[in-house]
């Protein structure tokens, strides 16, 4: 596969994103300001973090529907560890992150050990994790976190939102891992042909287990940022997150059948979605009208990609 072929969808997407930004900037003079753009970056961080791991998951030919539930469960555990068990907040954060990561590991374990299709395994854990979050919280919310905790979701470093730094670092790290390391090549190989990958000596199960565990970890990280940003903990947090994340990844050109996709594409997909949401809202389109546009863009972008490359999809 040549580089030009790999970049084709990303190029179309980059052009689309630039056009969208230009059009949106001309529609509203509030759109193309540093303040607004940084704020939008803040809003897309949670979905963005999860989407990075989801790119790996989908490149292996899998899917993880439970990320939103892991986010909700982690958020609840954070609140319960701190408020009800009286743990110091840093310890509560660490404990919640560990639980979220473990939830991701459980997904990977079910998928690899019992060969359950990922769609079904994570459909079950979607219900299970959300159920645990509801059961543990009993619909009570936790508020009143100490001031320093709000740094994760509301703070800034050098004028850039805190979570945008995390997203930036995570993007670079995952782009390097997927694009340049043996682990990344194993990820593509599994998605292209799992049996062939196994016979080439790739540790298929171990690789997948790492990837689903990582998806759990970033969902948990997103939960901490989310709680810090909205200053409260509720059990329905992250509901529907999985569809937003998958939309971003697929819009970014990652094949849902596996074997193809890049981190750059995912980031472009996310930027395009966030820009559309915000830009259209600023130009007076009602909040939910923007969802329609995102759906149209998703289908349209994939359609254009399919026309340029008759071999993709199918």
């Amino acid at each position: 596969m040549t580089a030009s072929k790999l970049l084709r969808h990303e190029t179309i997407l980059a052009v689309l994103t630039i056009i969208a930004l230009a059009v949106l900037a001309s529609l509203s003079d509030k759109f193309f300001t540093a303040e607004n753009l940084l704020n939008q970056g803040r809003l897309m961080s949670e979905v963005g973090l999860v989407a990075l791991a989801m790119t790996f998951v989908i490149v292996t030919g899998g899917i993880d529907l439970s990320v939103g539930s892991i986010l909700g469960l982690t958020a609840i555990l954070l609140g319960v560890f701190w408020k009800n068990l009286g743990l110091p907040l840093p310890l509560a954060i660490a404990g919640a992150l560990a639980c979220g990561t473990f939830a991701g590991w459980v997904n990977g374990f079910i998928i690899t050990r019992f060969s359950v299709p990922p769609l079904i395994a994570t459909l079950a854990t979607l219900a299970l994790y959300r159920g645990l979050a509801e059961g543990i919280s009993e619909a009570r919310s936790v508020r009143g976190y100490p001031e320093w905790f709000y740094v994760f979701g509301q703070g800034e470093i050098l004028g850039v939102p805190f979570q945008l730094w995390i997203l930036g670092i995570a993007t670079v790290v995952s782009a390097v891992i997927l694009g340049l390391t043996p682990f990344g090549r194993a990820t593509y190989a599994i998605g292209a042909n799992e049996t062939a990958a196994r016979f080439s000596g790739i540790r298929v199960h171990a690789t997948k287990l790492w990837i689903y565990t990582a998806a759990g970890f970033v969902s948990a990280l997103a939960a901490v940022i989310f709680v810090s940003r909205v200053t409260t903990t509720r059990s329905d947090m992250g509901t529907g997150l999985e569809l937003d994340v998958i939309t971003g990844v697929v819009l970014g050109g990652t094949s849902i059948f596996g074997g193809r996709g890049t981190i750059i594409g995912t980031v472009l997909g996310l930027i395009l979605i966030q820009a559309l949401k915000n830009g259209l809202a600023l130009s007076g389109v009602k909040g939910d009208g923007t969802i329609v546009v995102i759906g149209l863009v998703l289908i349209g972008a994939i359609l254009i990609g399919a026309m340029f490359d008759k071999n993709r999809g199918g």
């Binding site: 529907l65 079910i110 019992f114 060969s115 359950v116 299709p117 769609l119 079904i120 395994a121 459909l123 079950a124 854990t125 979607l126 219900a127 299970l128 994790y129 959300r130 159920g131 645990l132 509801e134 059961g135 919280s137 009993e138 619909a139 509901t239 529907g240 569809l243 998958i246 939309t247 697929v250 849902i256 059948f257 009602k286 909040g287 939910d288 009208g289 923007t290 969802i291 329609v292 546009v293 995102i294 759906g295 149209l296 998703l298 289908i299 994939i302 359609l303 399919a306 999809g313 199918g314």
Partner: protein, 324 residues
Amino acid sequence: MSSVSAGASRSTLQRFLGGYGQEIVVLLSIVALFIVVGFVNPRFLSDTNINSIFAGNAYIAIAAIGMSMIIIAGHIDVSVGAMIGVIATIAGTLAVAGYPVWIAWSVPILFSIVVSAGTGALVAYTRIPSIVVTLGMLSILKGGLISATDGAWISNMPPEFMIAQMRPFGIPSAVYFMVALTILAALFMRYTDFGRAIYAVGGNMEAARAAGINPERSVIGVFALHGLFTGVAGILFATQLQVIQSTVPPNLELTVITASVIGGVSILGGTGTVIGSTLAAILFACIGSALIFLNVSAYWLRAVLGLLILATVLADMARRRRAQ
């Protein structure tokens, strides 16, 4: 299924049971649940409760029939929940606006069939994966619905419109629909050329083409049929309560997909039956109701349900592995 090749040495009954393994497991679970929970709390077996279990969840079972066909054909539709919300809203709006009830019922169903067939055409001819197309449809339907209605509730619908609340011979009409549609769909899938073509396309699209089936037309057809079932489900959903919330029922698509899969439809396509998905939808409804009668806190309902889904899936994987 390996039972086909071993069929010669088995009795007809064994072959029949072998082909419906998952369905029988689900059916026995339902029976066991009724016996155990009824023993602990006899009120679980009251007419009112049984009626509410069956009638209140018939629309999920009916949507799961269409979803099963889609999955058997090797596809998926994650927009079904949004579609049911849209259908309910269109139907309610027409009924309140004073149109005859048959228009209020049939227009949204036609809408559902046309949109779903369009989705099918997009999937069939562009080869874009159905999960991507229906993810896009989900956004379009959901966004369109909320921007059109602003989430306003619809109420004061005429009584003759409320088909799900009618009770011919004392049994809620939704139950008749569920039973009749399940039987019709099961016969259709088993005994018609088109039904068998759906299995063939899901099993191996190119092999199906070589066998003289037009896979594109089959995919469009199965999506149109799915639209019909979704439409009926939407009308029942719209008429079972006195208000329509004109929003997308949360997580409904996952409930429907789960029912299909637990009922024995392989997510890889090509196998499964619609009877299984209806039984699974009933099983979930029974479990939800049973937990209440066993005094399990309502907050823990979903956790227990999730655990049961997981257990069913693992048991099914173990069964399939043994069968190989």
